[in-house]
Amino acid sequence: MNRHETGSRTEVGDVAADGRSPACARLQGLDVLQVEGLAHRVDGRQLFADVSFRLGLGMFASLLGPSGCGKTTLLRLIAGLEPLQQGRISLGGQPVADAESGVFLPPEARRVGMVFQDFALFPHLTVRQNILFGLRGRSGRDCRARLAWVEEMLERFGLAHRADAWPANLSGGEQQRVALLRALAPQPALLLLDEPFSSLDVARRLEMREEMLEIIRMSGTTALMVTHDAQEALFMSDLVMIMGHGGIVQAGTPTEVYEQPVDPFVMSLFGHMNVFAGRVDAEGRLPTPIGALPVPPSLQPGQRAEAHVRASAFLPVDASPEEGQGALVETAAMATAALAQGVPPGVFPWQVRGRVLSAHFMGGSSHLHVAPEEAPDQVLHMQAPGRFLPRSGATCSFWLRRNGVFIFPAGD
């Protein structure tokens, strides 16, 4: 169930369209990281199987998935911190671990840097000593160049005055910056990040994401990040790999995985979904309490299917909910009439009416629980933009965005 993803030519167009790093567009022939057929068992349970992917130079990739899916284990296998059970890992074209031939390069020989979830700063060394730790044994000129780089980075990211402090006296954000600089100082070929923001509080996280990304881009290092936070993965990555069900479920650019999910699991990572099950009717539509939804051509009439609708797919018809405008439109005539009234682009030509059960203000959006008119015992989760807080019990109408609705064949 995984896609063999190349970090290469097919990506170029999408990458440029997303406006991300131009470095990705200039792809070299040699991949920085190549993972083939990896599998891992823990305590008799198969954690994942047949995982393969490649990362090109300068790319920032994320492994996104729920806890326990094996993404951290995968990272540790690449770093050499766990013995490889099955498959092959190559860095810069050279195999560093191969289960069949028994090749296994220890972590210190792999030129891989890692930022740990708990930062793992050495408590008995100062900030500067921590960052310089990996530079032992370098030749004179090379060493001086790196020392200069370290001082420049300390200066640029506001750590120069903390360079002689002990890690325990630093704030979480400062510790993370030090951990990152320490990993980058020896110029590794690949940088691994294990849920780097989970120890920080929410406000810090947003700030640090930007800063981290900047530091990594500036150094031109290829990076692979493990996270369970979808927003983080979308914000930072050129390539998002969704991990679950024992393998990589989908890999693509952020736009691809969000707008073209291959299955409900992928969708579920990005927010709450409303699910409606049913059977495709003779006209190729799936009847649901929010309307008869057109199904993709691959689904046959009579087949069981599920509609997964994003909470953000609902758009309030207007801001005066008390008046309860509009009605569910089904016939073509009514659709034309509605269009004449001014239907916003990208929505289905009907409105969903429902009774508001509760409304919660979340800042940039409002989260509502609505009981649809067609099925009052069900509860729809809606996320409306901005402030939209109708009274409990009021009846409202909503447009339904086409790109928020995904129809999949139901399980067999």
């Binding site: 220890p106 210190e108 891989v112 979830q117 793992a120 408590p123 008995h124 730790f133």
Partner: protein, 566 residues
């Protein structure tokens, strides 16, 4: 604005209560307890200061050699226990190999065997007339001592070896806890930054664990200063041996006091060094991913790891116990004839009295500290805890002098008021012996009870007070029941240490009173060690009890504080 009764009571509960007869009693009790411990120390200082004429003589003749031997012994044992203890702890924490689970607690077994027993046993085995050399001579046809070279066990290196074998568990236990508390990602980060496994250990794992290692080494070195059996048997004159010699053989009280004073200075230096080593690095290395599982070893590497762990256990515990069992099996009747039952009774009686007294005093001290946070009480608690660091011989000398002086006072007063002299009431009695033991072991009871008390949160006290209980009632109804486990532990630990104790008991015991330890020493000195084997086995059995507690504590999830006081 009137505060509700609840908030008033809460305020009263949290403020240090200065009034109340019960509290005053506790305070006095705490001061008395501290006084008991400090008395010998003061006596040593006072006595040594007042006899100034013997000092130059001692300095010229005896002191340099004693000092040198003591320093060499401490250096040798210090290095050995660090290597043995850290190495074993590292293997056991970071790797997995067959037998790994058993080795974790087995490595602490040598603690059960007192150093002097190991000394006797190995001398027995390895001396010229012993079985090993006899076998070698038979095997190779050597006739006499000039025909071959065999290292002399009765020497400074021999003493270093014997003491290291029995004392390395102090470092092992503390280092193990420290390594386990380190986040595994520290070492992984070091490896990903280019260090190979052993350089990574020395650059990261060891420095971060250093405070614990230093504490364990300090404990071991305090035991070295305290030891008499090994150094006497091996003819390695150290300060403690010197005190015995000067006091018992030369009848020189002043000289003994001065040696005791020098020993005190050594001990204080040791404590200072250990505090320094610990204070500079306070590392909070609690990571979300703690130790993790060790790296699995296979093949010859696993065998090597297992052998490395087995060696100290075999040499320090298995072999000595086997020898004891052998001798006991053959000579148990002789042991019984020599008064074993009486010695057993004496030992148990003394240990019971000492442990009960120590537990009671520790409770008084701990409660006083809890209810009254004043500097006086806190000072008293700190002082009371010093006794463990003080070498037994030094405490004995000080105590004897203090009690002799007290006896003199009593006699003078009695003569003045009653017209008669009651004689020696305090010196040379069970009271003196018990006092000495309590002075030394109070710290152990205190450690156990204090850590148990620390687990009772202040809000429990506050809750009880708001429900109407007065301070003394709170102690009785809330704290004491919850402290049952700690009190039991305290009793056991002090009991066992009292059973094993040798130097102080030799000096302080009343005439005709011998314990298992002193009798074993006596027999060994008279080359009749085999007949003491059964008694020695009892000592070892007693020594195993705290180890059982330890194993249970080790297997429980979060009990790091328990292992610190063994």
């Amino acid at each position: 604005m009137t505060a509700s009764p609840a908030t008033e009571a809460m305020a009263a509960a949290s403020a240090p209560a200065g009034r109340g007869g019960g509290l005053r009693l506790l305070r006095i009790g705490a001061l008395v307890a501290a006084g008991l411990v400090v008395l010998p120390l003061l006596a040593v200082v006072v006595m040594a200061a007042s006899f100034s004429d013997a000092l130059p003589h001692l300095w010229r003749t005896v002191m340099p050699q004693l000092a040198l031997n003591t320093l060499l012994l401490m250096a040798g044992v210090g290095i050995s226990v660090i290597m043995l203890g850290c190495g074993a702890a590292w293997l056991v924490v970071r790797y997995r190999f067959p037998g790994h689970g058993i080795m974790q607690w087995a490595l602490a077994l040598p603690l059960a065997v007192p150093g002097y027993l190991v000394a006797f046993i190995y001398t027995d085995l390895l001396e010229y007339a012993g079985p090993v050399q006899k076998a070698l001579r038979e095997l190779f046809g050597w006739q006499g001592p000039r025909d071959y070279y065999f290292p002399e066990i009765r020497s400074l290196p021999g003493a270093v070896m014997v003491l290291s074998l029995t004392l390395y568990p102090y470092v092992y236990l503390l280092a193990r806890v420290a390594f386990m508390a380190q986040s595994a990602s520290l070492l992984e980060a070091a490896r990903l930054l280019g260090r190979k496994p052993w350089p990574a250990f020395f650059a990261v794992a060891l420095p971060v664990a250093w405070p614990a290692v230093a504490a364990g080494t300090a404990l071991a070195l305090m035991e070295v200063l305290n030891d008499f059996g090994v150094v006497d048997f091996f003819a390695v004159p150290t300060f403690t041996a010197g005190i015995f010699d000067v006091w018992l053989n030369m009848n020189d009280a002043a000289g003994a006091a001065q040696l005791a004073l020098v020993l005190l200075v050594f001990t204080l230096l040791l404590i200072l060094l250990e505090r320094m080593a610990r204070r500079r690095r306070r590392f909070d290395t609690a990571g979300p991913r703690a130790a993790g599982r060790g790296w699995r070893l296979r093949g010859w590497k696993a065998a090597l790891a297992l052998a490395a762990c087995l060696l100290p256990v075999v040499l320090g515990f298995v072999l000595p116990v086997a020898v004891l069992l052998m001798h006991a099996a053959r000579f148990w009747q002789e042991s019984l004839q020599q008064g074993l039952m009486e010695q057993l009774f004496n030992t148990l009686l003394l240990a019971s009295v000492v442990s009960l007294t120590a537990a009671l005093l520790a409770l008084v001290l701990a409660f006083a500290a809890r209810l009254d946070g004043s500097a006086t009480v806190r000072g008293a608690v700190r002082l009371a805890g010093i006794g463990y660091a003080m070498p037994g011989a030094m405490l004995a000398v000080g105590l004897l002098m203090a009690l002799a002086w007290a006896d003199g006072l009593i006699n003078d007063a009695a003569r003045a008021w009653l017209g008669m002299a009651p004689g020696l009431l305090l010196s040379g009695t069970m009271f003196a012996l018990a006092h000495g033991h309590v002075s030394r072991f109070l710290a152990l009871a205190l450690g156990s009870i204090e850590s148990g008390l620390a687990r009772i949160s202040p809000s429990m006290e506050a809750a009880a007070r708001t429900l109407g209980a007065r301070p003394a009632e709170v102690l009785r109804r809330v704290h004491l029941p919850m402290l049952r486990g700690s009190v039991l532990t305290a009793l056991l630990i002090v009991f066992v240490d009292s059973v094993k104790e040798l130097p102080m008991t030799l000096l302080l015991r009343p005439f005709g009173f011998s314990t298992l330890a002193t009798q074993t020493y006596q027999f060994a000195s008279d080359e009749m060690f085999e007949e003491a084997a059964l008694g020695a086995l009892f000592i070892v059995m007693a020594g195993i009890i705290p180890l059982i507690l330890l194993v249970r504590a080790m297997n429980a999830p979060s009990s790091q504080s328990e292992t610190a006081r063994f």
